[in-house]
C-alpha cells in the first residue's frame, strides 16, 4: 500500500520538477549575491561588496535612491521589504547569519524599539553627527533620521481661515464639536503624535485632550489620511490631522478647497516624525552600510530622499520640493524623537482608555 501512495505522489513530480526548474531561472541571478553577502562575514568586507537592506519604507520610495548610490559609488544595494516589526523579528532570528547590514524604516517609535531589541549597532560617523540634528537621531548613533514627516492640521478653506486655528490641543475645545476628523488610532503616526503629547503635557492632560478630540469627531475614524482629506473636500468635516505628504499627493491630482496649517513655533511647532535607518548589530558589511547612510545625509541623497515622497529633508539647509514650499514655513517641534518610542505603548493604552478607536 505504501508503495502505491508513493507512486501516486510521483504523478505530481513532473509538475514539481517543471516548477523547480522555472524557479531556478528566477533565483539564479540573486543567489550569487546571497553568497557574497555571507562570504564577506564577519569583519573585512571586500572592496565594493553589496549592501543588503531590510526596509519597511516602500520599494518605490527607496529604489531610485539605491540606484543613484550605486551609480556614484559602484556599491550594489539589495533590499527586502516588509513591515517593520516582522523585519526586526527576522533580524533577531537570523542573528549572526543575517545577510542584512542596514535596517531602513519609518517612525521613531519603531527605530527606538529596534534599538531596544538589540538589532542595531552604533555608527560613529562625524559626517552623520554633524548633518543630522540631535533631536532626530539616537544619542548613541544606533539610528539616524533621514527625512521628516510632518503630521499636521488641514482645514476646509471655505469654512475657516488661518486665524481660526491654534494648534493640536485646541482641537479638543468644544467649539470643534462635530467638525473634527481623525484617522484610526491603530496607525503609528497617531500613536507617535499622542506619545509626544504625553511627553509635553504629561499623561493626565494628554488623556483629557484625546478625550476632547474623540468628543468632537464628526465621523467615525478613517482608515487612511487620503480618505480624511477627501471628507474635508466633501464638506463632511472642517478640520483634521494628517501627514502632509498625503495632502501633497492629492494636490498633484486636483485643486483642493483644503489648506495646511502649521502649529506655530511658540506653541511647540509642528509634530514631526522621521524615516530613518541604522546599521544592524550583525552587519556583514557595516562599512558599506555606513557609507550608504552617509550618502543619504549628503545633499543629493537628502534632496532625493525627501522629494520622492514630498517629505522634509532632515538637513535644514536642503531646499524642499516646490509643492511643499507652497505650504509655508514649517517649524518642527524640537522634542526629542526618542520619546515617541519610549512612550508609544503608553500612548496606545491611553487612546484605548479614551475610546479613540
Amino acid at each position: 500500500m505504501q508503495v502505491n501512495i508513493v507512486t501516486a505522489s510521483l504523478r505530481t513530480l513532473p509538475l514539481i520538477a517543471i516548477a523547480v526548474l522555472l524557479g531556478a531561472c528566477n533565483g539564479s541571478d540573486t543567489d550569487t549575491a546571497n553568497d557574497t553577502a555571507s562570504a564577506t562575514q564577519p569583519s573585512a568586507p571586500t572592496e565594493n561588496a553589496p549592501v543588503v537592506v531590510y526596509s519597511s519604507r516602500a520599494e518605490q520610495l527607496i529604489e531610485p535612491l539605491f540606484a543613484a548610490f550605486t551609480e556614484e559609488t559602484g556599491i550594489e544595494v539589495q533590499y527586502v521589504t516588509d513591515s517593520a516589526q516582522p523585519l526586526i523579528e527576522r533580524l533577531k532570528a537570523e542573528g549572526e547569519d543575517t545577510p542584512a547590514s542596514l535596517l531602513l524604516t519609518v517612525d521613531a517609535g519603531v527605530l527606538w524599539f529596534a534599538e531596544q531589541q538589540g538589532v542595531l549597532q552604533p555608527t560613529n560617523s562625524e559626517i552623520l553627527d554633524s548633518a543630522v540634528p540631535e533631536a532626530f537621531r539616537d544619542p548613541e548613533g544606533h539610528w539616524y533620521g533621514l527625512s521628516l514627516r510632518a503630521r499636521t492640521i488641514v482645514y476646509d478653506t471655505r469654512e475657516l481661515s488661518v486665524d481660526d486655528l491654534t494648534g493640536y490641543a485646541d482641537l479638543a475645545d468644544e467649539k470643534w464639536k462635530g467638525r473634527l476628523c481623525l484617522r484610526t488610532s491603530k496607525k503609528v503616526y497617531n500613536q507617535s503624535l499622542v506619545a509626544m503629547m504625553i511627553a509635553e503635557f504629561g499623561e493626565e492632560q494628554a488623556e483629557a485632550l484625546v478625550r476632547g478630540w474623540v468628543a468632537n469627531l464628526a465621523q467615525p475614524v478613517f482608515s487612511n489620511d487620503t480618505k480624511l482629506i477627501e471628507a474635508i473636500e466633501d464638506g463632511r468635516c472642517d478640520v483634521g490631522i494628517v501627514n502632509s505628504y498625503y495632502f501633497g499627493r492629492l494636490q498633484r491630482t486636483r485643486e483642493l478647497p483644503v489648506a495646511i496649517f502649521w502649529q506655530p513655533e511658540a506653541l511647540g511647532g509642528a509634530h514631526v516624525n522621521v524615516s530613518g535607518a541604522g546599521v544592524t548589530a550583525n552587519a556583514p558589511n557595516a562599512t558599506g552600510a555606513a557609507q550608504l547612510l552617509e550618502w543619504f545625509a549628503s545633499d543629493k541623497g537628502q534632496q532625493m530622499f525627501a522629494s520622492l515622497n514630498l517629505e522634509f529633508p532632515v538637513v535644514a539647509s536642503i531646499p524642499v520640493d516646490p509643492i511643499v514650499a507652497a505650504w509655508g514655513e514649517m517649524a518642527p517641534s524640537d522634542q526629542t524623537l526618542v520619546d515617541a518610542g519610549r512612550l508609544q505603548a503608553d500612548a496606545v493604552k491611553l487612546m484605548d482608555r479614551a475610546g479613540y478607536r
Partner: protein
C-alpha cells in the same frame, strides 16, 4: 505498516507544531500589565465583534454559496453554464482588494454615492463597519462553499432526490431533507474554511476599521511592542478554532456518506419562466457584486496608472507568483492526500490529533504564523546546522503549515466516499495494490484533489505575510507588489498587480471547471 502511517501523519503535523511551539512557549513570558489593559479596554469589544463577524460571514457565505451551487448544478435556467464557472472567479481576488474596490465604488466620493446624491438629492445611507466587513468577506469567501457543495450536488447525482420524490416528498422538501443533508460534509468543510479565513483576516477589516481579535493581536505587537502578548492572544484564538473544529466533527457525528452514482445522464430540473428568471437574477447579482463591479473598478484604476506602474518587472512578479503557487499546490495536495490516507489506514487518536494540529494554521493570522515559523526554523537550524532560511524551501514549508487545511479539507470529504466496502469489493474482484489506487481510489479522489490544488494555488497567489517575511531575494510576487503600493496608500496603482493575480487565477479556475463537470 500501520505505525508507518501514524509516523507520517505526525511528521506532517510537525510542520504546524513548529510555529505552534513558539506560540505556546510565549505563554511562559510575562507581559507586565499588557493583559490587564487588553482585558479591560480592548477584549470585550473585540470578542463581541469577532463573534458577530464570524457568525454573519459563515451564514452569509453558506447561504450564497450553497444556493448558487444548487442552482448551477440542478436547475435549468438561462446563463447556467456561464455562471457555473463565473461564480468561482472571486476566488482569485484577495479579500482586501475587493474591500477596497467596493469601498471605492460606494464611498462618499465613489460613483454610486455620487449618482445617488444626483438622483435622490440626499446622502446615500452608509453601511456600518460591521455589515460592510461581513458583506465583503462573504463575497470573497462564498466560493469555498460554492465549490465544495457544487461538487457534492454534482456527484451525489439526482437519484436520491428522485427516490425522495417517488416517496412523496415535494421538490423543496426533497432539497431540505435529502439533497442538503447528503452534501453536509462538503458544506461543513466549506464553512469551516470560511470561518478560519475570517478569523485570520486582517486586510479586509482594516479597510473598514472594524476591530476584531486579529486587530488586537497586531495592535499588541505593533502598538504595544509586545510580541509575547500577541502570541498569547494567538494561542487563545487557536483554542477557539480547536473548539470549533471539534464541534464540527461532533456535528457531523458518525454519519457516513457513500452515495456516488456515476454515468447517469445529468438532467436539470425544469422550472417555470419566473423561477428561471429569479435564478438568473440571483447569480447575476452575486457575480456583479463579488467580481464584475470590483474588477471594473480595478480596470479603471489600471488604465489610469498603467503608464507609471506597468513595466517589464511584472514578468518576474508573475513568474514568481505562478512558480510558488504551482509548487505549493503540488506539495500541499500531496501532503493532504498522505494525511487523508493516514486517517484511513491508521485511524485512531494519533492520526486524529495530527490532522487537527496540521490544519490549525489556516486560522492563525498570517504574520504571526510567519514569524513563529521563521523563529522556529532558525532555532532548529542552529541546532542541526542546516540553514533553510534564505531559500524557497522555508517559504514552501511555511505555506504548507498555513494551507494544509485547504489541501486536506476537500480531500477529507472525498475520502469519506472511499468506504472499506469498496476496497473489499475490489479485492474480491482481484483488484488490489496499485490497480486499486489507480482504478478505484483515484477516480473518486480526483475531483477532491483538483479542488484542493486549485484552492491552494489561488490562496498562495494571494498570500502576503509569509511571502514577505521568508522570501529570498528576487522572489517578489504580485501580492508583494500590492503590499509595496498599499502600505503607502497607493491603492489605485495596486489595481494592476491585483488584476494580474485575477488573470493568473483564471487559468486554473477554468481548468477545474471543465475537470469537475466531467467528473460529475
Amino acid at each position: 505498516m500501520l505505525p508507518g502511517w501514524r509516523a507520517l501523519a505526525a511528521a506532517i503535523a510537525l510542520l504546524m507544531l513548529l510555529p505552534l511551539g513558539v506560540v505556546v512557549a510565549a505563554l511562559a513570558i510575562p507581559t507586565d500589565g499588557v493583559w490587564t489593559h487588553l482585558a479591560t479596554y480592548v477584549l470585550p469589544d473585540v470578542l463581541a465583534n469577532t463573534l458577530t463577524l464570524v457568525v454573519s460571514v459563515a451564514v452569509l457565505s453558506a447561504a450564497l454559496g450553497a444556493t448558487a451551487a444548487w442552482l448551477t448544478s440542478m436547475v435549468a435556467f438561462p446563463g447556467r453554464r456561464f455562471f457555473a464557472w463565473a461564480l468561482l472567479l472571486p476566488l482569485a481576488l484577495p479579500g482586501y482588494v475587493i474591500a477596497f474596490a467596493l469601498a471605492g465604488v460606494f464611498d462618499y466620493s465613489g460613483t454610486v454615492a455620487v449618482l445617488w446624491r444626483g438622483v435622490f438629492g440626499a446622502t446615500m445611507p452608509r453601511l456600518d463597519a460591521a455589515s460592510a466587513s461581513a458583506l465583503c468577506l462573504a463575497l470573497t469567501l462564498y466560493p469555498y462553499v460554492y465549490l465544495l457543495t457544487r461538487q457534492a450536488f454534482l456527484t451525489q447525482g439526482q437519484r436520491s432526490l428522485e427516490v425522495a420524490q417517488s416517496l412523496g416528498l415535494s421538490r423543496t422538501a426533497g432539497f431540505w431533507r435529502v439533497t442538503l443533508p447528503l452534501a453536509r460534509p462538503w458544506l461543513a468543510t466549506g464553512v469551516a474554511l470560511v470561518v478560519m479565513e475570517t478569523l485570520a483576516d486582517f486586510g479586509t477589516v482594516k479597510v473598514f476599521n472594524y476591530d476584531t481579535f486579529t486587530t488586537a493581536i497586531y495592535s499588541a505587537w505593533f502598538g504595544l511592542f509586545s510580541l509575547p502578548a500577541a502570541l498569547q492572544l494567538s494561542a487563545l484564538l487557536l483554542l477557539f478554532v480547536a473548539l470549533a473544529v471539534s464541534a464540527e466533527r461532533f456535528w457531523r457525528g458518525r454519519a457516513r456518506y457513500v452515495t456516488h452514482d456515476r454515468g447517469a445522464r445529468r438532467q436539470y430540473l425544469i422550472v417555470n419562466r419566473w423561477q428561471a428568471a429569479l435564478a438568473c437574477l440571483f447569480c447575476a447579482l452575486l457575480f456583479a457584486a463579488a467580481f464584475a463591479v470590483p474588477v471594473v473598478q480595478l480596470l479603471l484604476w489600471s488604465i489610469e496608472t498603467a503608464s507609471t506602474e506597468l513595466n517589464s518587472r511584472y514578468w518576474s512578479f508573475l513568474r514568481a507568483s505562478i512558480v510558488l503557487a504551482l509548487i505549493a499546490a503540488a506539495l500541499i495536495t500531496t501532503l493532504g492526500l498522505l494525511l487523508g490516507y493516514s486517517e484511513r489506514r491508521a485511524p485512531g487518536r494519533i492520526t486524529r490529533w495530527a490532522t487537527r494540529i496540521a490544519t490549525l494554521g489556516y486560522a492563525m493570522p498570517g504574520t504571526v504564523l510567519a514569524v513563529g515559523f521563521f523563529v522556529a526554523v532558525s532555532a532548529l537550524g542552529d541546532v542541526v546546522d542546516v540553514r533553510l532560511t534564505g531559500t524557497i524551501a522555508v517559504l514552501l514549508l511555511a505555506y504548507a503549515a498555513r494551507f494544509l487545511a485547504v489541501g486536506h479539507g476537500p480531500l477529507g470529504s472525498a475520502f469519506e466516499r472511499v468506504t472499506p466496502n469498496i476496497d473489499d469489493a475490489s479485492r474480491g474482484l482481484g483488484v488490489g495494490g496499485f490497480a486499486l489506487l489507480h482504478r478505484v481510489h483515484w477516480p473518486i479522489l480526483r475531483s477532491g484533489a483538483a479542488i484542493a490544488a486549485l484552492l491552494v494555488f489561488v490562496d498562495v497567489m494571494k498570500e502576503l505575510p509569509i511571502t514577505l517575511l521568508t522570501r529570498p531575494f528576487g522572489w517578489d510576487t504580485l501580492a508583494v507588489r500590492i503590499f509595496q503600493l498599499t502600505t503607502e496608500g497607493e491603492w489605485q496603482r495596486a489595481a494592476i498587480p491585483a488584476l494580474a493575480i485575477v488573470l493568473a487565477g483564471l487559468v486554473p479556475v477554468l481548468w477545474l471547471h471543465r475537470h469537475s463537470d466531467r467528473a460529475g
